[in-house]
């Protein structure tokens, strides 16, 4: 049914129905290595549901999701993460009672089993890696601050940093700049451009100005199906996209 490909992520015939309502309908989506793809679309188009299915949170009714030619459908969530897929949620999901340093430490991909966790040591390697990532996400001055005291934008960055700690080959970000100030948006755009070297990123975003700044390729979803796909320019000039999403 599904063929092996050279794509990093190959989604084929993906369908999920909730009580008969098809939230995602025979979707085909291919992500290249080193690609930064943005998915846009009106509310209820199925954008978040697609990410949920890739990371194992929602089970598809039909179809296949292949990551590096490995079927993800049916795998446990933590196994999918261990295979190299990282996911950032729409609302910033960080550990409010842990410091920035500890948030990043917990995300370090060692000591993930119970006994590995008991034997885990905070080595020099771990510390230097945390410092490097903290610098990348503009939080190197906040390492000892508890997550709860960060601003909304900083929480978003921290969650991206937590993904970077895991060194995933595919990062999925759900509205990473929601609630950010315009200068924070700019910094985030720079951050995303930097981190997509050597890995692929899928982003769901509504802010068209931000999308045009970062996207390699844009996919427009509508009612669980792909309405258009191409460069930002192509998509913006597509009459049906203007009709359902961008407006005249």
């Amino acid at each position: 049914m599904s063929s092996n490909t050279n794509f990093l992520l190959a989604i084929e015939d993906l369908t999920v129905s909730f009580d008969g309502f098809k939230a995602v309908d025979s979707l085909n989506l291919y992500i290249d290595k080193n690609e930064l793809r943005v998915i846009i679309g009106p509310n209820g188009a199925g954008k978040t549901t697609v990410l949920d299915m890739v990371c194992g949170k929602t089970r598809p009714t039909e179809g296949s999701i292949k990551f590096k030619d490995r079927e993800l459908v049916g795998m446990a969530e933590h196994k999918i993460v261990q295979a190299g897929v990282g996911r950032k949620f729409q609302t910033p999901s960080i550990y409010e009672n842990l410091t920035v340093f500890e948030n990043l430490e917990v995300s370090y991909p060692k000591g993930r089993t119970v006994f590995g966790c008991l034997a885990f040591e905070r080595s020099e390697e771990v510390i230097s890696r945390i410092q490097k990532v903290a610098q990348e996400i503009f939080l190197d001055g906040y390492l000892e601050v508890e997550g709860a005291f960060l601003s909304h934008g900083q929480k978003q960055w921290l969650e991206i940093g937590m993904l970077l700690m895991q060194e995933p080959e595919l990062i999925m970000l759900d509205e990473p700049v929601a609630g950010m100030s315009s200068s924070e948006r700019e910094q985030t755009a720079e951050l995303l451009k930097r981190i997509c070297k050597g890995r692929s990123i899928i982003i769901i975003e509504h802010d068209m100005e931000f999308v045009s700044r970062i996207a390699h390729k844009v996919t427009v979803l509508h009612l669980g199906k792909i309405l258009a796909e191409g460069t930002m320019q192509e998509v913006q000039n597509n009459p049906s996209v203007i009709d359902v999403y961008l407006g005249h």
Binding site: Q82, F89, E105, C117
Partner: protein, 384 residues
């Protein structure tokens, strides 16, 4: 870098706490109480193992079990089976129709020792079983429930049902378990009379030492990544899962650890009290143990022990004078703690330290008109 000293003892503040507790358990109580009362305290301290397990499971792991009596009971029965077999040698039991088996089996027309009793002739096996049997049962239950993401109220209700099932099961199989009477008339451990005064002292101090050891090991484990993982899981379980962790495995671990601690408590109970019965396994004791932990402060290791001692001392005093009222008082206490002091004694102590610290400093510098506020830290005495 964290040194072993910092991790095990919890730094200077931790050293003070453990020193106070050691002082209370090893010097103060044995010095003030006669052996009868001290033996009672020793019995309470065996419940403290369960409360300690609940700190792990409920306070740190965020999962409330209303069936920890099951594991206390399993540990206790493992120990009691060994002691009963030792007490049932063929010479002492020669008047039975089948000499050499426990008396209650003989009363129930059982003519040979059931297969599952045989290994309990060995002390090393029994001691290992005290820890392994509760942990294994917890493992099976934990995998069955946590893998399916059963949690919260559902988990609590299921554990409570298991406590009921086990106590009824023991009750209903008198020939194999001693039934409602339990396993009684336990006398010696490898020939050492556990009912003697000397033995009661030794067992009391053994219990205290093991309890402190359990605290130190817990502190060591919680000060590392495990402590942070459990905190992270309470904060945002989904984020932990999507950071590549099998959340259920960590919950199973804490459940097993809590069960193993409870089992050790159960075994020490049997050694000090000399019997075990299904009334210590069922729903009521399981809930009482939750109250001990809640009163002490559900996420404080030390609080669990002070809470257990306080509630049990209260229970002994009040139930002697107002046996009818005690249960209402206990229920009221639980509600009051949950509503007013969600962090129990430990929470009250933290508040006193926070408010009392600056207050004391001010008093030192300002020369107080009314010296009464100084008395606040003395409330600590109540804890012990």
């Amino acid at each position: 870098m964290q040194t072993v000293f910092d991790r095990v003892l919890g730094g200077k503040a931790g050293l003070v706490k453990i020193a106070i507790m050691a002082l209370v358990l090893f010097v103060l109580l044995p010095g003030c109480l006669d052996i009868f009362r001290l033996n009672l305290v020793g019995k309470y301290l065996t419940y403290a193992f369960v409360a300690l397990g609940l700190v792990w499971l409920w306070g740190k792991g965020g999962v409330l079990s209303l069936g920890q009596g099951v594991f206390f009971g399993l540990g206790g029965y493992c120990m009691a089976m060994f002691l009963k077999l030792e007490a049932s040698d063929p010479i002492t039991t020669k008047i039975q129709s089948t000499p050499g088996i426990p008396d209650f089996m003989d009363w129930n027309q059982i003519t040979h020792l059931p297969a599952f009793w045989v290994p309990f002739k060995s002390l090393p096996f029994s001691l290992i079983a005290v820890v392994i049997v509760p942990a294994a049962v917890a493992f099976i239950l934990g995998v069955a429930m946590f893998k399916r993401r059963v949690g919260g109220v559902y988990f609590a209700v299921i554990t409570q049902a298991i406590a009921l099932i086990l106590s009824l099961g023991i009750d209903g199989n008198q020939g194999y378990t001693g039934g409602r009477n339990g396993i009684t008339d336990l006398r010696t451990l490898l020939g050492w009379d556990i009912r003697s005064k000397h033995a009661q002292y030794v067992l009391y101090f053994t219990t205290c030492a093991l309890l402190l050891l359990a605290i130190l090991v817990s502190q060591w484990l919680l000060s590392g990544k495990m402590g942070k993982m459990l905190l992270a899981m309470r904060d945002r379980e989904d984020r932990v899962r999507f950071s590549g962790y099998d959340v259920s495995a960590f919950k199973v671990f804490t459940f097993c650890l809590a069960a193993a601690l409870s089992g050790i408590g159960g075994a020490l109970f049997v050694l000090q009290v000399g019997f075990i019965s299904p009334s210590l396994v069922g729903i009521v004791p399981s809930i009482e143990m939750v109250i001990f932990a809640a009163v002490g402060g559900k996420s404080s290791l030390y609080g669990a022990i002070y809470g257990t001692l306080l509630v049990n001392t209260g229970k002994s005093l009040f139930s002697e004078t107002f046996p009818q009222l005690w249960l209402f008082l206990m229920g009221g206490l639980f509600i009051a703690v949950v509503v007013l002091f969600p962090n129990g004694l430990a929470g009250i102590w933290t508040v006193i330290c926070k408010k009392g610290g600056p207050l004391l400093k001010r008093l030192k510098t300002e020369q107080p008109l009314d010296p009464s506020p100084i008395s606040t830290p003395i409330t600590k005495g109540q804890n012990s």
